[in-house]
């Protein structure tokens, strides 16, 4: 994300920092992988649908192809490889844990307990296997009500 910002705002001067911030906010509000959302929005903003399509393909194709070729060559059922990859998975859980901690610090302080309660309810509900669309619908409505009624 940071690399993206440097390239688009500082090197190419396609967008001002404010415009970039705008696009970033929009791509986090809407569902979907943020980086892909960003690429689509940027493409649309700069050159229209062709740019958006090109942006997504260039962003996603190399990694996807590389991944599939690598996986075809790996003996994933070997016990040592399996354990190594399980350790890698624990590593990415740890990285994500740090990200979650930072995300938590970005919550608004105003009535934080209500917000945390909402987060806890969402976590428990999805952990207990309540279907995600319901969690999103009810949780989203509750969060919006919390924000706009307060």
């Amino acid at each position: 994300m940071l690399l993206y910002q440097d390239a688009v705002v500082q090197d190419k001067r396609w967008l001002t920092p404010e415009e970039f911030q705008e696009i970033l906010t929009l791509s986090t509000v809407f569902p979907g992988p943020n980086l892909v959302n960003l690429a689509v929005y940027l493409g649309l903003r700069l050159t229209g649908w062709t740019g958006a399509l090109l942006g997504v393909c260039l962003l996603a194709l190399p990694g996807a192809l590389l991944l599939s070729t690598v996986v075809l060559m790996l003996p994933l059922d070997n016990r040592h490889v399996f354990l190594l990859f399980q350790g890698f998975a624990l590593g990415s859980v740890a990285l994500f844990g740090v990200f979650v901690l930072r995300y938590f610090q970005g919550l608004r302080r105003h009535r934080i307990w209500l917000r945390l309660l909402a987060a806890a309810v969402v976590a428990v509900a999805s952990g207990l296997g309540v279907p995600l669309p319901y969690v999103l619908l009810v949780g989203g409505a509750a969060c919006v009500a919390l924000e706009f009624l307060a």
Partner: protein, 200 residues
């Protein structure tokens, strides 16, 4: 038919993925592993882990899963499924936003939805931390009292995640070295424990 199903699973997960895709991984897994039985839980996790090593979005795992299910046509269906969602959703958002330009409202909506996203993140993190700390207990080995070993491995795995969080948050290690160090540590730990378990 199977290609349409692959496309639909990934397209649908996009529309649910608020705050990025990590929050909906359990849902994606439920659809792919439990509902359709396309691949095993371990395969699913491996595809996620591998995808985080290649450049680009982590969703590189989706075409790969498509490939496992239906070969290269499946790969294409997965690719189209996961990446056409953002094109449509953001395209619509772009048009609406150009017309009604109200960033204050959008920003407020984003702030409002944060508790929801945080909840999804926490639940995914815990579920994956738990499901990935099975160690050698989930590979085909014979040990006595496997339940005891499984419990021990879960505890050690979660402790290792704690160590990783600490090292990365305190900037003792970078992201890639954290992941590699934990891979090595987990392998070594399991190898030692397995030989203990066998001799016990």
């Amino acid at each position: 038919m199977i290609l349409l199903q692959i496309f639909w699973v990934f397209f649908r997960i996009n529309l649910l993925a608020f705050g990025g895709v990590f929050g909906v991984l359990p849902e994606l897994e439920r659809m792919i592993v439990a509902e359709h039985g396309w691949i095993s839980h371990d395969r699913f996790i491996q595809s996620y882990v591998l995808a985080s090593f290649v450049p680009g979005p982590n969703m590189a795992m989706c075409p790969l899963i498509g490939y496992w299910v239906a070969g290269w046509p499946g790969w294409v269906a997965g690719f189209l499924g996961i990446y056409s969602g953002p094109l449509l959703v953001i395209g619509l958002a772009y048009v609406l936003y150009r017309r009604y330009r109200n960033l204050q409202g959008v920003r407020r909506l984003e702030t409002a939805l944060r508790p929801l996203v945080l909840g999804l993140f926490v639940s995914s993190t815990l579920q994956y931390g738990w499901s990935q700390s099975t160690g050698f207990a989930s590979t085909a080995v014979e040990v006595s009292s496997p339940a005891l070993w499984r419990g021990l491995l879960h505890a050690l795995g979660l402790a290792l995640v704690g160590v990783g969080v600490f090292l990365y948050a305190r900037k003792k290690l970078g992201p890639v070295s954290t992941v590699f160090a934990m891979g090595g540590a987990w392998w070594a730990l399991n190898t030692v424990l397995l030989s203990l378990a066998r001799s016990a």
